[in-house]
């Protein structure tokens, strides 16, 4: 089908984009890569009366190191640019490793980092990964800006803390401490398809190889990214033996998530996958953490 008519603005600065968003409020949608918004408009599931196209806002396209060893990504940085960035590979290898799993090559040509985060699809890798890495997002409106930690940003199905007059302008990720390992595991019907279940794990070890901090975050098992707090707690202060990891994976699958059933997978199967994938993710993250002394 074809999208219904809309007013179109193509600002060249964030300032100008914010003027349009503030003026039109809930009637307006920011158009980033359009790889989710345009199909929903073609189906007429979404009928925004105003589109504010961000594709000419050059100040939102960047991948920069920050002075503390972290990484800053402009919201309009496209997936294929992140996928090919040596800086991303060096500073946030978890993001680098996830990129080829995100949608198809054609979608990655156009889709943007900030667009995926702001869209808040519960099956998106980038939301879960941002939480696992302790990332933060910079939101701007006409009166100023605020920083929101990734684990507070997602509040429901396709819903975030973003107000209608705000734009997500940047994602920022801290330096990965030494002796930190990471992993993303998922099961999808086809390569690049939506994951039935996915899990990101980041583990930091102390000098005695005991777990100082662990973060485990699921995708596709709830209304948004779901952090497995109970499982992570069972790992803190422990030596990560196969038994401990196995028990944590069980806790994650049974106590931390409440997955739903749909045409793609039953809740029971999703729980099964969650357990298996968590075990694999923790194994790999632990191995990598030991190797990064």
């Amino acid at each position: 089908m074809k999208p219904p008519p809309f007013e179109y603005y193509a600002p060249t600065t964030v300032e100008e984009a914010l003027v349009h968003l503030s003026e039109h409020g809930y009637d307006a949608k920011a158009l980033a890569g359009g790889q989710s918004l345009i199909p929903t408009m073609n189906f007429r599931l979404a009928q925004p009366s105003v589109l504010v196209d961000l594709n000419n806002v050059s100040e939102l396209f960047y991948i920069r190191p920050d002075e503390n060893g972290g990484l800053r990504l402009g919201a309009m940085t496209r997936h294929f640019q992140v996928e090919r960035s040596s800086l991303v590979s060096e500073r946030t290898p978890l993001i680098y490793e996830a990129m080829p799993k995100i949608a198809t090559p054609q979608i990655r040509s156009r889709g943007t980092f900030g667009g995926s985060i702001a869209h808040a699809d519960p099956s998106a890798e980038l939301g879960a990964i941002s939480i696992a890495l302790g990332g933060r997002f910079r939101l701007r409106n006409q009166t100023g800006e605020r920083w929101v930690p990734a684990n507070e940003f997602f509040i429901g199905m396709f819903t975030t803390l973003l107000e209608p007059d705000e734009l997500l302008v940047e994602a920022s990720f801290p330096n990965m401490p030494p002796r930190t390992g990471w992993a993303l595991q998922e099961v999808a019907r086809r390569p690049n398809d939506f994951a039935l279940v996915g899990v990101a794990a980041v583990v930091t070890l102390d000098k005695k190889n005991q777990c100082q901090k662990a973060r485990i975050v699921f995708l596709s098992v709830g209304d948004g990214p779901v952090e497995a707090h109970r499982a992570a707690e069972t790992l803190t202060g422990q030596t990560l033996t196969p038994e401990i990891i196995h028990a944590a994976a069980e806790t994650a699958a049974t106590a931390d998530i409440d997955p739903g059933s749909d045409i793609h997978a039953s809740a029971e199967y999703r729980r099964h996958l969650a357990g298996v994938l968590t075990r694999r993710a923790l194994d790999l993250a632990f191995e990598r953490a030991k190797g990064r002394g």
């Binding site: 345009i38 594709n55 090559p105 054609q106 156009r110």
Partner: protein
């Protein structure tokens, strides 16, 4: 409020200027306004990959962009890839390996694979299958398409 926008775009090396409504999809612009019907439209929601074109050298789904967004940009469609007399090596390989049955998905698959083969001149089967994971083919079962890509890689590196 403006209802119509001027668009100046280079497609297959030719400059076109048209006036469009902002809601006009790039796929419909190519087919209806420019008459370039080699770009096929299947699902119109970014799943089938039939409408894949190169936008500034990157493979994109033309049904997930508005024509107005192409202003000032460069596009390559299947019409710009080769001619019946002088096929692109990938088209030649598709012909020889029987990678085409009904042909509906073929333009999108070709436009997806051209930049892929430039970046991966010697791909293995898994890489080829991942590269075309965003293109649906209802006829071939993909096997002959994979064969065609392998043959093309040989031709292009020879």
């Amino acid at each position: 409020m403006r209802h119509l926008f001027d668009v100046g775009v280079t497609v297959n090396g030719n400059r076109y200027e048209r006036t469009v409504e902002p809601r006009l999809l790039l796929s419909d612009f190519l087919r209806h306004d420019l008459g370039l019907t080699g770009t096929h439209v299947g699902c119109e929601h970014g799943v089938c990959g039939s409408c894949t074109i190169l936008f500034d050298g990157q493979p994109v789904r033309s049904c997930l962009m508005f024509a107005v967004q192409a202003n000032g940009h460069e596009i390559l469609t299947v019409e710009g890839l080769g001619t019946p007399e002088d096929l692109h090596p990938l088209q030649e390989a598709f012909w020889e390996a029987h990678s085409v049955q009904c042909g509906f998905c073929t333009p999108g698959i070709l436009m997806t694979l051209v930049p892929f083969l430039e970046e991966n001149p010697n791909p293995n089967e898994d890489e080829i299958r991942a590269a075309i994971s965003g293109n649906l083919c209802r006829c071939t079962g993909y096997q002959h398409i994979v064969d065609g890509v392998k043959l093309a890689a040989q031709k292009m590196s020879a």
